[in-house]
Symmetry: C2
Subunit: 344 residues, 2 copies
Amino acid sequence: MQEDKTEQIIVAVDAMGGDNAPLEIVKGSVDAVNKSKSVKVVLIGQEDVIRPVLSQLPCPKGQIEIRNATEVISTEETPVMAVRKKKDSSIVVGERMVKNGEADAFVSAGSTGAVLAGGSLIVGRLKGVERTPLGALIPTAKGVAFLVDSGANMDCKTTYLVQFAKMGAIYMEHVMGIKNPRVALVNVGVEEEKGNALAKEAHQLLKDCRDINFIGNIEAREIPAGGADVVVCDGFVGNVVLKSYEGVSGVLISEIKKSLMGSLRTKIGGALIKPALKEMLKNFDTSEYGGAPMLGLNGLVVKTHGSAKAKEIRNSILQCVTFKEQRIKEKIQENLVSGSEDTK
Amino acid sequence: MQEDKTEQIIVAVDAMGGDNAPLEIVKGSVDAVNKSKSVKVVLIGQEDVIRPVLSQLPCPKGQIEIRNATEVISTEETPVMAVRKKKDSSIVVGERMVKNGEADAFVSAGSTGAVLAGGSLIVGRLKGVERTPLGALIPTAKGVAFLVDSGANMDCKTTYLVQFAKMGAIYMEHVMGIKNPRVALVNVGVEEEKGNALAKEAHQLLKDCRDINFIGNIEAREIPAGGADVVVCDGFVGNVVLKSYEGVSGVLISEIKKSLMGSLRTKIGGALIKPALKEMLKNFDTSEYGGAPMLGLNGLVVKTHGSAKAKEIRNSILQCVTFKEQRIKEKIQENLVSGSEDTK
C-alpha cells in the first residue's frame, strides 16, 4: 500500500483559522483539489459559515467535504488550555482526525501555539522523537532553505538539534527534491570552537552523524545568501532568524517604495522597474512553498502564516501530498530509530 | 575636571587592524582631528608603515602622533592566546594605554575576538559590572537602535541582561541623545510568559527596574521597524540579529541591482531612481554612527567593522569624545552600583 501513489490523500483543513478565514482557506482548498486528483480536503469548522462560501466555488465532486466543528480557538487564548477545553474546535477536531487515521494531514492558519500544542498532545510524537520542531521554508539567493526549529521548542538539548538536523535533511531531500542537502548549524562563526554551550556541543555531535551532509556552522549572514539547505538551531534562535528576515525585508521594501514616490523622476523610474522588481520579490515570497511542517509527529501538521491567502493554503495542501507519497513520516521513524544508536 | 569640556581627549587608534589598514584608518583619524579640536589621536602600529601614509595627509600640528608597536594580531589567531603572547601588538599596546590612563579610548578594526579579550583582560571591568557587552548601533525605519549584547557574551545569566539594559539605556540617552530610551527584550512574542528560560526570567527582573524605561518584549520583526531604542539579548542572539540584518539587506539589494540590469527598460528606470535609492540606503548604513562600543570597561574600547573605511573610523573617534564628555563610564559605574541594590 505504501507503494501505491494513486491512493487518495486526505487533508483536514482548518477553515476557521487565520486572518482570511474562511474565504481564502476555502478558495485555496478548492484550488488544491482542482490541481490534484490525489487529494481530498475536509474543511473543518462551522458548517453554516463554510457552506455558503464553498457553494460559490466550482470544484470536482467528492473531493471536498465539510466536517462541522462548533468552536474556534483564537490567537489570544493560552494554547494548551484552549486545546484541552475546546474539544469541538476546528484545531482539535482536525488534529484528532490525523490521530485516528481519518486524515493524513492537517493544515491550519490559526493560533500557532494551539496548533503546536495540539500536535504534541493530540497527534503525538513518533517513537524515538524527543521534540517536534516546526520547519520553515525561507527564500535565499539560491532558492530556498529549511529552517528547523523555526519556533516550536525554546530550550533545547543538543540531542534535539541532532534530530532536527536529520528530520530536516529528510524533508529537504524527499519533499523539496534537494539531493544530499547541506546541513549547517546556526552559530556566531564558522570555527567549531565558537558559540554558546549548546552550539559547541551540538557541533561535535553533528560532526559524527554519518547519515547527514553536515557542512559545519553557518553565520546568520550566510543564510539569505543560500549557504545551507537545512539550517539547524533551537526554536528561540530560529524565531529570531525568521522574524529578522521578515522585518528587514519588509522595512527595506517599504523604504524603497517610499523613496520612489519622492519626485516625478523617481515615479517614472519606479514605473519602469516595477514589473522586474515584482518578479524579483516573488522569489522572496515564502507563500510559494506552502506552510511550515511540524516534523516528527505521528502524522503531518502544517502551520501556515496567519495572513495566508489561497495560494499558500493550496501549496500547503499539495505539500501534504508529497509528504505522504514520499513516506516522510516512515523515513523519519526509520532514520531516528537507527540513527539514535549512531550517536550514542 | 569632569565638568571641563574643553579638555583634550586622547584616542588610541589601531592603525594595523582591519581590511583597509593602514590607509583608511589613518585617513579617518586625520578627518577626526580636522573635525574636532578636542581630540588627539595616537596611531598605534608599525611606524615605518604608518609614517609615509600620514605624511601625505594635511592635518593640524600636535593632534596626531604615532606610537610604534611591532606586532600585529591577525583575525585567524586564537584571541586570548594572541593577546597574552603579542605584548607589542597594536591591540595590546592600545588597550594598555587605556588601562594606564594614557588614552581615554581605543578604536580598532582588527580581530573582534582579540579586541574583546584584551578589553576584559587588559582594560578590565568596572566594579559591579558582571560582563561587558558589545553594543551595536543598527539602522531602523525610525532612526537607530542600540543592540546590546551584539556578540561578546555567549552564555548569559539574567543579571547580565539587566546590566546590558541599564548600560545600553545610558549610552542611548547620553551619547545618542535619545531621551528616556525605550528598552525592550528580544523574545519570540510580546506576552511575558513567552520565550526560553533566560528570556522569561530576564523579563521579570527588567519589569522591576525603576531606572530604565522597559517597554517589554520585542519580536525580531519589530527591531528594523524601530520598535525599541535599546534592544537587549545575549551575545549569541544579538549576533544572529545583527548578521541577519546584514545578510538579508545585502541579498535584497544585490537582487534588486541584478533585476535592474535585466533589460533596457529597467536600466533606464534604474538610472532614474539611483540617486533616491542611494540616499535611502545611506540611512541603512551603520558606518554613519561609528563602531560598536564595549560597555562596562574601565575605559572605552570601540570595535569597528573589519571593513571600516575612513568615515567609520572618524565617526568612531568622535563617538569617543562624546562618551568621555558625557562621563558615560562614571554614569555606568554609579548606576550599576546603586542599581544592583535595586534588583536584589
